[in-house]
Symmetry: C2
Subunit: 444 residues, 2 copies
């Protein structure tokens, strides 16, 4: 098995006939996806991407990655939301400190994902004595956060290397033809990569958006895509009972209708922490609309058993957990025998930490279901690019299905504009004069 969806800790909370009831809805939603007949159908490019990706660009990404590896020791990804969350998730999931820190591959840094002078100063301090390349990722080139960071980091590079050399160190991932960033890149001679028109930001990790930086980090992007494609094939049935991505979507939907409004994605390894952040955007932005949606949150156990554990065990019963475990993490450590035995733990001596973790996990799952918290369990075979690609596709497909079952358009994000409009008005951006006046008249 590569990925196993385990429902044994869920049986107490969902009866078999509930799956029967929702199965026809799943079939209909599958049709909406496959026949592109549902809302948001112009953003379904991610579905076939692992098979139909641009093979020429893919080779160009590998060549660029090799050049970047030779040219720099700090590679800065400039992007916000879907333009960096997938990259960070993959890099952190797969690269140990040893692998990242051994100098073979550049360290990956992130900019343009906040409005923080403190973060920017940290980054510029780090980069002062390093060789730097940057990858600016933006469909339009006009999103405020990455645009501001690009202004600053481009100036930094041009000062450090001169314009001509800086131009060779700037890589742009953007629209294939439109937008000022694309035309500027052409004019300057930056190498460019494409954000496809039919793939939204949060589904874009397996396009050049994610592939270029993760390749730079030394990750095997062939294996990543192979995993995603094998998942695409494995999850092609319209039948709930033969498609675990759909089954996960159905489980979530059933639990939500029972009043479970918060889903906790539970990891047992710190290296899944940023994958959880990617997952939060994927599901939260796809489903949180029209006054509906499961609120996505995350914890790392056993760490947070000593923090949010109390709430999960005994607080308000609005939660369910989705445990994401990795069977083979490629790391092991035997607990040593200790003559003094001050902690009374010699009964653990000689056992591997992974065994202890597996037992802690099962102990926790039993405790939590006894406490009334439904548990879904996703088991991933190993910490590898192939398995991670598989998991990414699993989540993307499950998310699309889940959105249609919920009754929303999973592919838009109209609510993201609200703060931006206010902000542009307050900043006196041309074109927002009326809103500015209206905001000034509000007595808050």
């Amino acid at each position: 098995m590569i990925l196993k969806l385990n429902d044994k800790y869920l049986k107490k909370f969902i009866s078999e006939h509930e799956y029967e009831c929702i199965a026809p809805m799943v079939t209909v939603a599958d049709k909406m996806l496959r026949e592109k007949s549902g809302l948001g159908n112009s953003f379904l490019g991610w579905m076939d991407l692992p098979e139909n990706y641009d093979k020429k660009e893919f080779e160009r990404i590998k060549i660029a990655a090799k050049r970047i590896q030779a040219d720099c020791d700090a590679f800065i990804v400039i992007g916000i939301g879907g333009s960096y969350l997938g990259t960070r998730a993959i890099v952190d999931f797969l690269n140990s400190v040893e692998r990242q820190g051994n100098g073979k591959y550049p360290e990956i840094y992130y900019a343009g994902c906040n409005i923080s002078a403190a973060s920017l100063n940290d980054l510029l301090y780090i980069c002062e004595n390093k060789n730097v390349c940057i990858n600016v990722i933006s469909k339009s080139g006009t999103t405020t956060e990455p645009a501001v960071a690009f202004r600053i980091l481009r100036a930094f590079l041009e000062k450090k290397y001169g314009v001509e050399e800086a131009n060779k160190r700037i890589y742009v991932t953007t629209d294939k033809a439109r937008g000022t960033l694309k035309s500027f890149a052409t004019q300057q001679g930056y190498e460019t990569f494409v954000i496809p028109d039919d793939v939204g930001g949060r589904f874009s990790v397996l396009t050049a958006v994610g592939l270029l930086p993760v390749a730079v980090a030394g990750i095997d992007i062939d294996a990543l895509m192979q995993g995603a494609n094998d998942a695409r094939i494995a999850y092609s049935s319209a039948d709930l009972n033969k498609n675990d991505a759909y089954k996960y979507a159905a489980m979530r939907n059933i639990l939500y209708r029972k009043g479970k409004s918060v889903e906790l994605l539970v990891g047992y390894e710190p290296f899944v922490g940023t994958l959880q952040e990617w997952w939060k955007q994927l599901f939260g932005e796809s489903e949180g609309k029209d006054g509906k949606g499961i609120f996505p949150a995350s914890v790392i156990f056993s760490t947070d058993l000593h923090s949010l554990g109390q709430y999960i065990q005994e607080g308000e019963r609005i939660l369910f957990e989705t445990v994401l475990s990795v069977n083979d993490t490629k790391s092991m450590y035997t607990i040593p025998y200790d003559e003094a035995n001050i902690d009374g733990l010699n009964f653990l001596a000689g056992r591997d930490i992974n065994e202890l973790k597996q037992i802690a996990m099962r102990a926790t799952q039993l405790a939590h279901i006894d406490g009334g918290v439904p548990n879904i369990h996703i088991e991933l075979e190993e910490r590898s690019a192939y398995c991670l690609g598989y998991l990414i596709y699993f989540f993307e497909l499950a998310c699309a299905m889940s959105g249609y079952l919920l009754g929303v358009n999973p592919f838009d994000q109209p609510g993201v504009e609200a703060y931006k409009k206010n902000m542009f008005a307050m900043l006196s951006k041309p074109g927002y004069e009326e809103l500015r006046k209206a905001l000034e008249e509000r007595n808050i």
Copy 2:
């Protein structure tokens, strides 16, 4: 002002008479706290701590910190839950990369807060060529995660330096008299510090638990304690209208009763990220019991406006936000003018990033209240040890009040034991034979 609790974005959601209704309850709960007459009253040591702390130990902490700074470049804090979250919160909040990375102070690392061979291997890899001291923090010395880490890291130190020198590099923070860790420390000659009996883990950051490692990180612990003590004095009234810590507790409680089950602590700077984790334990573990409690979650804006922003703006209306902003972050950066103006943002040129952030914040608050999300706003004057100490006390007192208003014992955590009992039984720990049998008989 050091800390301002701003309710202007809340007026639409809470009427004045609601505060009037809850004010008498606040007065009663204040009495329970000050007269130590409520549930959990044997754990109120944190209340007077900023004034009545052990001055001799405090001086000893400063001396030890100086010695540690001279002896090592990697200082490993071994602890879980309240034994490390406060330390990490303070270090990350106050120390920029430049300050941490300039070699003047040791880097602070954390162990024993998970069951992850991958994390342990990362840490041992990092420490291979560094000089190391460790601080094991555990009341009993028998909590599994830190105990296992201490076994391994003690063996690592003894191998690296020999037993005698290793003993000088091990610092223990534990019970003042009881427990196997205390006796072992005495036997080995480790320097020890005290976890007071009347201060629970999640309220322990201003004891030696937090003070030693943050002093090692070069943070001014006098200023930290001064801030906490000034907050203690400022928040000494039983009157809701004269005590903003109580007012924050009342706001939360009123919103919870209106169906707002999830509180999002919103930061606008990445450096507040681990403070949010400390806050989650403080409130989640204090309130999440008896089937009640606000679920604590967190986001960093503007980062997560491009992730959870959509949900917050338009998803299920179960959320309220508490925005924690820092007026003076001690960092600035002017947005440069760009001849090409490809992003069309030249109207921002010459303005500081902090100004942009302030405007984004107000824009977001207005958008979110228009979307039906109540906003509490806590403004902190500056990024300093003094202000952070003040904020810590504010949150601790608010949490205690909030727990009593909710009708729970804010100072226990009975639910944390559930998974541990299962785990010990499954691990065949002596004394858990019956539970082991019962678990084996369950058909899951």
